[in-house]
Amino acid sequence: MTQQYSRFMRWTSRVVILSMLALALPQQSAFAVMVDTEQVISHELAGQDRVKIMAFLDREDVLAQLQQHGVTAGDAKARVNALSDDEVHKIAGKLDQLPAGGTDVIGVLLFVFIVLLITDILGFTKVFPFTRSVNK
């Protein structure tokens, strides 16, 4: 009787151990910290946007307007490089809405200016000498 009982216990404990192990297995992959493709592609898209903005800054009419405002193309590009992926995406979206002739170039430049002004004030960038970061 006791022998039978202990054999029963032995088998039961084996089944319990195995099922506990099986429970633990899928949890291992739940710990996985994988980077998904969405994160990868958003960075790549931002790269494309940056190229688009740089090409825009190389346009002759834009260069002329920049010069009028006393900004060199190099300065402007340095500002674009200081922008985050998100900000770059916003500006590139604005560029897409422009007519090819570029009648609203001033508006876009103002937008770039304002974005940079805000990021300057928040202390993310330091483009304009006259802004003081809120963190300081």
Binding site: F31, M34, V40, H43
Partner: protein, 326 residues
């Protein structure tokens, strides 16, 4: 009097000139068609579903999906697409619904040439037209299935007409008012002829949550073949294989990605995780440490992976010591 008449006539003449001239894209295609573009094509095998009132969204998507081998009815799509208050369907939902049925939905470049190239390659394309004016729009989806450069015409499955023939010029005017919106829905693994690398891979990534993992793997595989070295496609293959528990294939994909893109945190982080899952902790730690050293916006993830692997490695070496104590 004579002068006034002459002015009037000149005015009429000018109005006529500007009205009769072709819009820019049509002019480009008709005056100098690309040498590689067939002069005529028509996809007669694309099914036709006639639409009920305002149901052009569901009907056109159903035609496109069925042509791609997905059996879906207009009726089924109506519940996913149609907004009764708007009497229509939103463009974003056209993409989302196509994905829900397993297709990769892709927005083509706003270029008439690309539309014709896709048709010539056998892919029907969904276009959005505004049939009236910008200030009083009448929005309408149609499926472009054919064209003829010699007669300057485009053939559509449109509303109640199975084979509507429009002059390319009129088509461009109505299409331009939607900012040349145009999409295709294709089975995973088939890439539109005119697809742009980054935009297309982004389209697969967007579909990844709704299509099954095997289809995602097929789609990324095709993308990696068409654009060798594309980072997202390589990571996509790895992630899909990992989800399917094929750690060997996942490892190969991440190694390739890390080789082609030595500054990619994603490649090294995911490689580290895959190696760790195989119990190869030393190699995993090397990859994880490299991922952390790269910094950037994914550095928190890389740090987490590194700590997790260190913890697992310690736990494992402790576990190995237990039998010794017995």
């Amino acid at each position: 009097m004579l002068i006034r008449n002459a002015r009037f006539l000149a005015g009429v003449f000018l109005v006529c000139l500007s009205a009769c001239a072709n819009p820019p894209q049509t002019r480009l295609v008709l005056d100098s068609p690309p040498a590689t573009l067939p002069r005529h094509a028509e996809l007669t095998e694309v099914p036709y579903f006639s639409q009920e009132a305002f149901q052009c969204g569901p009907a056109t998507l159903a035609m496109s999906l069925n042509a791609s081998g997905f059996a879906v009815t207009t009726e089924a799509l109506k519940h996913e697409l149609y907004l009764p208050d708007l009497h229509g369907s939103l463009q974003v939902e056209m993409f989302a619904a196509a994905r829900r049925h397993g297709a990769i939905a892709y927005q083509l470049a706003p270029d008439l040439n690309d539309v014709l190239y896709e048709i010539a390659a056998g892919t029907p394309v969904i276009v959005l037209q505004n049939l009236a004016f910008s200030w009083k729009p009448v929005w309408h989806y149609a499926v472009a299935i054919g064209y003829d450069i010699d007669s300057g015409e485009i053939i559509l499955r449109s509303g109640s007409e199975q084979r509507k023939i429009l002059s390319m010029r009129t088509f461009e005017y109505t299409w331009a008012r939607s900012d040349y919106w145009v999409m295709v829905s294709m089975p995973p693994g088939q890439i539109p002829k005119t697809a742009d690398e980054t935009s297309y891979v982004a389209a697969i990534s967007a579909a990844e949550k709704t299509i099954d993992t095997v289809s995602a793997l097929t789609a990324y595989d095709a993308a990696a073949k068409r654009w060798p070295g594309n980072l997202t496609a390589q990571i996509g293959i790895g992630n899909a294989a990992y989800k399917l528990h094929d750690l060997g294939q996942a490892e190969r994909a991440y190694r390739q990605a890390a080789h082609d893109h030595p500054d990619s945190v994603a490649a090294f982080n995911n490689l580290a995780q895959t190696l760790s899952d195989q119990g190869r902790y030393e190699e995993a730690l090397d990859a994880a440490r490299h991922a952390v050293s790269l910094g950037g916006s994914l550095s928190t993830t890389a740090q987490e992976t590194l700590s997790e692997i260190e913890r697992k490695k310690n736990r494992n070496s402790n576990a190995l010591q237990i039998p010794v104590q017995e």
